[in-house]
Structure formats: C-alpha cells, structure tokens
Symmetry: C2
Subunit: 381 residues, 2 copies
C-alpha cells in the first residue's frame, strides 16, 4: 500500500496534504509513503523532516506517484499529472468539483477514484475529517490578524497617561465556523464585536463569545430563534428590515469581516458599493468569500483594494497564509479519513464503498463520474 | 498667539502633531491655529476636519508658519524650513537631538526655541506629556500585530475536532513600556509569553501581565529584586549566566520581540547571528530598536530580513504604522505641555523658563544651544 503526497501546483497554495506527524501514522497503518521533494517547503516542513518520519522523497511527481494506491493533495491536480498511479488509486483532497465538471470527468478518465473531502457528511464521526471546518476556523482567525495588520489604529481600548483610546468596532457577517473564530479573535484583541447571521439561532453562539447579535428582533425572529438550526427561511419583509438595520450598522464600523459562502454557488453579495462608501476612511473590510466572487461588491480576489480610504482585503486562501497550522489540521483530517479505509489487522486497503463517508465523497470510480451531484453534468460529455 | 502645525517631511513619517481634538482645545486656550495642507492625510485627518475644528489651512509651509509663535512637529524640520516664524518662536516635537548636534545648532541659528519632548522629566505631572511612553506603548502593541501577520502559524492554542494546535511561544526582551504592552498583546492573542529585563524588579510587572520572567534567580538576583528600580548594576558573572540562559531560551521561541533602547546611544546588541540560527525556520523576531541600529545583529532597518527561514522585522517607526492612534496620543502629549506655557486668563503665551519641564526640554534659545547635554558639542562650532 503506497501513499503519495504531491507538491501543490496551484499558484499561491502554500499547504501540503501530509505532515511528519501524519506520515508516521500512515506508516504505522502499514503504508509506504512517498513525498514529492519540496512539498512541505511553504509549510516549513523540509524533505529531511518527512524522511525522519519515515517517508521516501520523490524527485519528481512521476517518481512520487509510481505505483501509488492513494494520492494526497490539497488542490485538485490535473488528470494528466497522475500518470503512473495504480489502476483505481484514490485521489484524496479538496477537489473543488463545482464548476470544474470537465476536470472531474478527466479524473474519471484517468481511472482514479477521486475523493472530494468537502463532501464529508457533517455527522459526529466525520467531524475529525471536516476540512471545511478546520480551514474555515483558521481563516476566521487570520481574517482578524490581516485586518489588524492594515488597520491604522490600535484595536483594544487603551487607558494611557495621555487619555483613553477607544476600542475598534468589528462586525462579523456570518456566524459559521469562520465567523465564530473571527468573533473570538477580535474579542481577544479587545475590539467591540458584533455579528449577524441569517439563522436567528446563531444569536446564542455569538453572545456566548461576547459578541452583540445584530438583528431585527421582531416576533418572526423570536419564533425562528427558538425553532433553531438552518431550517427557517425568513420572510421577504423581514429580510428587508434586516438589510436596512445591517446597512446602518456597517456605516459605524471600523472593521467588517464577511464569511458567507454557499457550497457550489457564487458568494452572496452582502456589502454594496454604497455601504462601503458609508464607512469612514481608515476602515477595513476582510472578504473571506473572495475566492467565490466575494461578499463585497468592490472585492478584487487576491488583492487589497483602497476605496476612498476603506481597505477591502480580498485575499483568497486566507488559511493558506498560516500554512503551517493549516497543513497540520488538513493533514490530520485526511489521516482520519484514510484510517477508515484500511484494515488495521491486515495492514492493507479495505475500502467499504457503501460506507456513507465514502459514498458522500467519491466523485469518480472505474472510469465514470459516480457522484449524484455531477452525473448529469458528466453525461453529455 | 499663532500655532502652526507642519506636514511631516521625513520619509515614512505618517503621524501629525495635532488632531481636530487638540486644535479645538488650543483655540479654546486663545490660539489661532494654522495647519499645513495635507498634514493629517496619513493619519486619516482631512483638511476639512481640521477646518471644522477651527484651524485655517496653510497652502504651504511658509504660509502656515508666517507669524507663528509655536510650531508643532513630529520629526525635527530643517532650520531652513522655518523662515517666517516670529523671533523666539517655540519649535515643539520629537527633535531627536543626539547625533544631530549640527542640526540643533542650526535651529539655534534660526532663532527658534527648540523643545525636545523626549527630554520631558519622568515626574508625575509630566506623565501626560510623555511622548516616549505614549509612542512606545503603541509600538509594543503593533510589534505583536506585525509578528502575527507574518507568522505562518496561528498564535493561540486551538482545540479543534482535528486535534489541538499548540500556542505560540513569545519572548519579550525588555520590560519597559513597549515590552509590557507587547506582553499584554501577545497574551491577548493567546501566546505563551515570557520576558526578561536587566532590572530584576521588572519580574513582578511581567508576572502581573501573565508572563513568565526569565532570569537566573540566584542570591544576587533576589537582593536586586527587592532593591527595585533602575539602580542596581548586576555583576559580570551574573550577566554571563543570564546571557547563557537567555540564549537557550531564545532557541525554543516562535516569536521574539526586542525593545532595548538607551536614549542617545546605539541600541544594545541582544541577539547575535548564532542565536538567530538557533531558532526554528518560521520563527519571527521584531526588533523595535531598528531605528537605533537594532538589538539584533542581522536587523536591517526598514526591512524584513529572512535568515534561514527566521524573519527579522526591522521596521523603524513601528508606532507610525498605526498613525491614527499614534497621532491622537502624540498630539495630546503636546497639548498638555502647551497648556503649561499659556496664561489661561490672559489667553497668551507666558513661558516660565525656570519651570523644570521647560528647563529639561529646551535645547536652544536666543540664538544659542542652551541644553547642558549639547552645549559642549555646540561650543566648538
């Protein structure tokens, strides 16, 4: 059982799909691990550290991949770059299939079983494999650090001999995993933090972190709040009132962090040009949805835009800006999944293709696109 | 009584010596205030905001300065740039006289009374005028933010579904105003913080902020600790033991912040090349003494050096990287001093040249260098 770890080819991808910690554990499970030279460089893991953990170092992608049963990656590699792997080898990573149906079909054509970790079911036993959560958590942290770095004021309240400095006001839009970590980090740095979410049930979580929940708290809200969860769609009338409240709130903020992403869809537009223009010069917006088009009308993916003195940070792959931590957690997510694919007594691959984790994540198998979300798209090819 | 506020000419100086808040108060004291156009731009204060506070806007330095009795600045302007001020006008700012004796003599030649705010006595009534403290405090905060921004890991301990992320280890060298704020900020961000200082009495302050004090705690240390204050010079033997302990400690740190500055002298060397090379790749050093040559052997002022993967941040004027807050406090420091120079009933200048604050800070008067620290240097000219 050979596991290959590729150096990432996508521009700006600093993470790596294994660490010395996970390599040692994979070897303990009976695997032979080959890591492409330089794969860990940007995450501060040297070839020597991988070797110390028991991996061999492949001088090139083909050498690394030759005879592999499992290929680990962060971003989806080109199907053409996978030559030499065993027939039916698993390709496991953040394969980002939506909008990339042709590439998924090409992976099918290459004969690999492509596993998209983003589709891991959100059930208890799979939490440890949840790359979306582990990476979103870090993105939420780093969003606040990026904001603080370009902000031209101190974040916390400071009581000095020369008088008081007021704390920054930070507003987090979307109280999912990234949003909650952004709230926690902004609180750590002493900001006055508020947040909002389309789910009234998020109010309790925001408040438990010390944030103020911003919402029109009418009867409809109160009913939805107790109903909880993702379910309730609020009325158009409610949404209009809420949008108005949010717009007024943004105008008074120093820092806004947007975190609204819907898998497979363009990012929803939360902040218009007018809302940016309502903010004071010196304010900072961090758009964590930049890679999907952005929550902010003026976001330019990969750049910091300065619009009338308001900085809009549109970095893509924000978690990749703390690659050492991001790789550490990502590699653990992959390891936890691989553990379910191995017979620990026999020390060999024993994939249960009917396991709900496997069924939910496998995109391609035996030369075909098999995932229900992509079969239709693949059919006409 | 006219007060002029200059736009800063020194490259990279983003601060301004007055804010709308202090302008309004100076006007309340009977002053007419003229602000050079664009003076507040980098601190996010527009000409219009200064005008709203009651200032007039000078289209150029000469227009702004014409007839001024007091000139406010951050950095020392060239004497040639002060033409048009009233005879004997006060020039108040961070004049940085050490090593710049010729420029001080030129200010004497220009007939201004140059007031170096760095020399403000450290007595209770002058705390509110202490620019060294107000700016060092912000530099200490920003040093941690800069470190977090380039650090390739998250700072706090994180308990995630994919396991724990260990907190960063941060070490602060020098527990003065900047060092104590750096300790507090690194603690806010969840780092495990340690610190050291040549003054054993600093141990208590470091510990009160949640930091671990790093020192050889032998009998000599314990005696010095209770003696307190700046006084005690430790023995050469003690210093050698302490240096050895510090070197071992640095090798295990993720982030080191150095803050050792001695007024008028080159920065003491705290970290050698070998000590940098003992640190793991990915570590970060912030050298707050870069402007004075640096506490770190490899520091390059104004730059981030990458030495075997250890980043050494040598930004000068770190407080100027949060210019809005830095200007706010600096301007308040100057205002507090100016208040002591004005007869509040008569609403005019009434300088008591024998006041200890004035005596301590005035470098030049009536065409001569009068400050005792600079008379010798000026004499041979």
């Amino acid at each position: 059982m050979k596991i290959a770890v590729l150096r990432e080819r996508v521009e700006g991808e600093s993470r790596v799909a294994a660490t010395p910690e996970t390599v040692a554990k994979l070897i303990g499970l009976g695997a032979e691990v080959s890591v492409e030279t330089g794969a860990g460089d940007l995450s501060r893991i040297s070839d020597a550290q991988f070797q110390d953990a028991g991996a061999s170092i492949g001088a090139s992608a083909p050498t690394t991949l030759k005879g592999a049963d499992i290929v680990l990656c962060v971003r989806r590699p080109a199907a053409s770059g996978l030559a030499g792997v065993n027939k039916g080898a698993l390709l496991i990573g953040a394969l980002d299939p939506y909008g990339n149906e042709k590439d998924v079909a090409a992976l099918a054509g290459a004969g690999v079983a492509a596993v998209s970790m983003e589709f891991m079911p959100r059930i208890t036993r799979a939490q440890v494999m949840d790359i979306l959560s582990s990476q979103a958590n870090l993105a939420g942290y780093q969003a606040v650090i990026e904001a603080a770095a370009v902000f031209d004021r101190a974040m916390p309240m400071m009581m000095t001999a020369a008088g008081t400095v007021r704390p920054a006001k930070a507003f987090v839009m979307g109280a999912g995993v990234a949003g909650l970590q952004a709230i926690a980090t902004a609180k750590r740095l002493g900001a006055v933090v508020s947040a909002t979410d389309v789910r009234p049930a998020a109010k309790e979580q925001v408040e438990s972190l010390g944030g103020k929940f911003i919402a029109v708290e009418d009867d409809e809200f109160k009913q939805a709040e107790t109903a909880g969860g993702y379910a309730k769609q609020m009325s158009a009338e409610y949404q209009a009132k809420q949008a108005e409240l949010t717009a007024q709130h943004i105008a008074k903020q120093d820092i806004v962090i947007t975190t609204a992403l819907i898998p497979g869809r363009p990012a929803p537009r939360l902040i218009t040009r007018e809302m940016v223009e309502s903010m004071a010069a010196g304010s900072v917006i961090v758009d964590l949805a930049a890679e999907r088009g952005g929550n902010v009308e003026l976001t330019q993916p990969g750049r910091i835009v300065d619009h009338n003195g308001v900085k809009i940070i549109g970095f893509t792959n924000v978690q990749g800006r703390i690659p050492t931590t991001a790789s550490q957690l990502y590699a653990r997510n992959l390891l936890a999944f691989i553990e379910t694919l191995i017979d620990k007594k026999e020390k060999k691959l024993a994939i249960n293709w009917d396991d709900e984790l496997v069924k939910a994540t496998v995109l391609t198998r035996d030369g075909a696109v098999v995932h229900p979300n992509f079969q239709a798209a693949a059919a006409p090819e």
